[in-house]
């Protein structure tokens, strides 16, 4: 087990290089062997080093010859299709790593924007955001609103269903009576039950109807020069180009 990260470059110290070679060569052979056993496939490895006139091989010189024969019997194209050397292999790895990096950055951007959104909800100023940030923020708000809408619908459906079931039970085994409750009624019922929780969050209500100016100047909100609809064009899919 390594204690510190090894730099991906030629080891200039001779003894360190030799020691590393011994360890890693052993590990590599072990990995080939495991791959072969676990997946029931044929494989071979050949290593030429300055420390040995003879190559190190797996599984055995004869075994290698067998696999090589199998390999060379294949059409040229099949041999080379999945063949790589250091350069091509590293390029592949760089491409893959770049893709992962891009994906992670996108995720992080969304996470950060979510934090900005939360802070915006409690009144933090948006003055330091640039156009791109505002665009992404708007998009994120829309996404959240969509999710909330979906969730509300789901809860209403459940409320309706449980009402229907309860009603059916009350009326017994007669002709099935459909008790229809409008979504608004269900909402209101759920709403009223939890009015205490609401009162506890009174301060958030204050935010919606600001009594004092907030960092961004709360009264500006009521004097929008353009209607809300005009700004939908601003929200392109920032996160999913």
């Amino acid at each position: 087990m390594t204690r510190k990260k090894v730099k991906l470059a030629y080891i200039t110290n001779d003894s360190a290089r030799k020691a590393t070679y011994k360890k890693r060569k052993k590990g590599l052979m072990k990995k080939v062997s495991e791959l072969s056993t676990l997946c029931g496939i044929d494989a071979c490895a050949i290593i030429y080093s300055p420390y040995d006139s003879q190559p190190e091989v797996w599984p055995s010189p004869l075994g290698v010859q067998r696999v090589l024969a199998q390999f060379r019997n294949m059409p040229e194209m099949d041999q080379s299709k999945k063949m790589v050397n250091q350069e091509s292999f590293l390029r592949q790895r760089i491409t893959k790593a770049n893709e992962q990096l891009k994906k992670q950055r996108k995720e992080n951007r969304e996470k950060e924007m979510t934090q900005v959104m939360f802070q915006g909800l409690i009144g933090k100023s948006l003055n330091s955001l640039n156009m791109m940030d505002l665009n992404d923020l708007g998009w994120l708000i829309d996404q959240n609103l969509k999710e909330i809408h979906k969730r509300v619908e789901t809860l209403n459906k459940e409320a309706n269903n449980s009402q229907v079931v309860a009603a059916a039970a009350t009326y017994g085994a007669g002709p099935s009576v459909e008790v229809k409750i409008s979504p608004e009624q269900a909402e209101r019922q759920a709403f009223e039950v939890n009015i205490d929780a609401m009162q506890r969050q009174q301060w958030l209500m204050d935010w919606i109807n600001p009594q004092e100016p907030m960092g961004f100047g709360g009264d500006e909100v009521n004097n929008l020069p353009f209607g809300d609809a005009n700004h939908n064009a601003l929200w392109s899919s920032a996160f999913f180009p």
Partner: protein
């Protein structure tokens, strides 16, 4: 979120019974094997060839300097041919490999940094959850909370729109201002001078602010 996978498990050193697991294992381990081989070549400057047949009878191979070269050397049992031309090609190739290794290291470091960042943000959000109910996932909110959040978000949306308008106006003014300055000769009294208060260079936003995120990527 519940754990999706069981994490690293010890595996019996026999042929894997499950066909699809076998496929996945092959894919992952083959990739890891080539990575180890590549590292060995870089670190110790050795020549390597690895040939692997897939469960589907396709063949994968890794070689440094090349599969063919190493295989030839093995079959003919002859010492490596070292011509001056080959040495030049070799040196060239090694230089480019060095470059690529540096690039790869760079990208991996950046990736690691982003992952750490994500972890930090997750921690912060988790810590705040108890005090700020609206930071919880939407699935965990009750109806009045959802209503509340909806209203707050709609309000925030309006504010964002207002702010965006503000920026658009400032940006277009700035544009006009710089164009105007560029085409005017010196000495004349300019209608858009700073003291008029119409255009204040300090309001023009430069870039993303100190909340710690970048300029956006899309």
């Amino acid at each position: 979120m519940a754990r999706k996978s069981k994490g690293r498990q010890k595996v019996a050193m026999v042929k894997m019974p499950n066909e699809s697991n076998l496929q996945v294992t092959f894919s992952k381990r083959r990739s890891g094997l080539f990575k180890k081989a590549s590292e060995l070549c870089t670190l110790c400057g050795v020549e390597v060839a690895i040939i692997v047949f897939s469960p589907g009878k396709k063949v994968f191979s890794f070689g440094h300097p090349g599969v063919e070269t190493v295989v030839e050397r093995f079959i003919t049992r002859s010492p490596p041919q070292i011509s001056p031309t080959m040495q030049l090609i070799e040196a060239h190739r090694n230089a480019s490999v060095r470059e690529l290794n540096l690039q790869l290291t760079q990208v991996c470091n950046q990736l690691e940094m982003e992952k750490k960042k994500a972890e930090e943000i997750n921690q912060t959000r988790k810590a705040n959850k108890s005090q700020c109910w609206w930071e919880s996932p939407i699935e965990e909110l009750n109806m009045p909370q959802l209503q509340q959040l909806k209203l707050s978000l709609e309000q925030l949306k309006k504010i964002v729109a207002t702010q965006a308008d503000k920026l658009l106006i400032q940006n277009s003014q700035a544009h006009l201002h710089s164009q105007f300055y560029a085409s005017t000769s010196s000495g004349a009294v300019l209608p858009f001078e700073s003291k008029n208060g119409v255009f204040n260079p300090e309001i023009v936003p430069s870039h993303g602010h100190n909340l710690g995120y970048g300029r956006g990527f899309y």
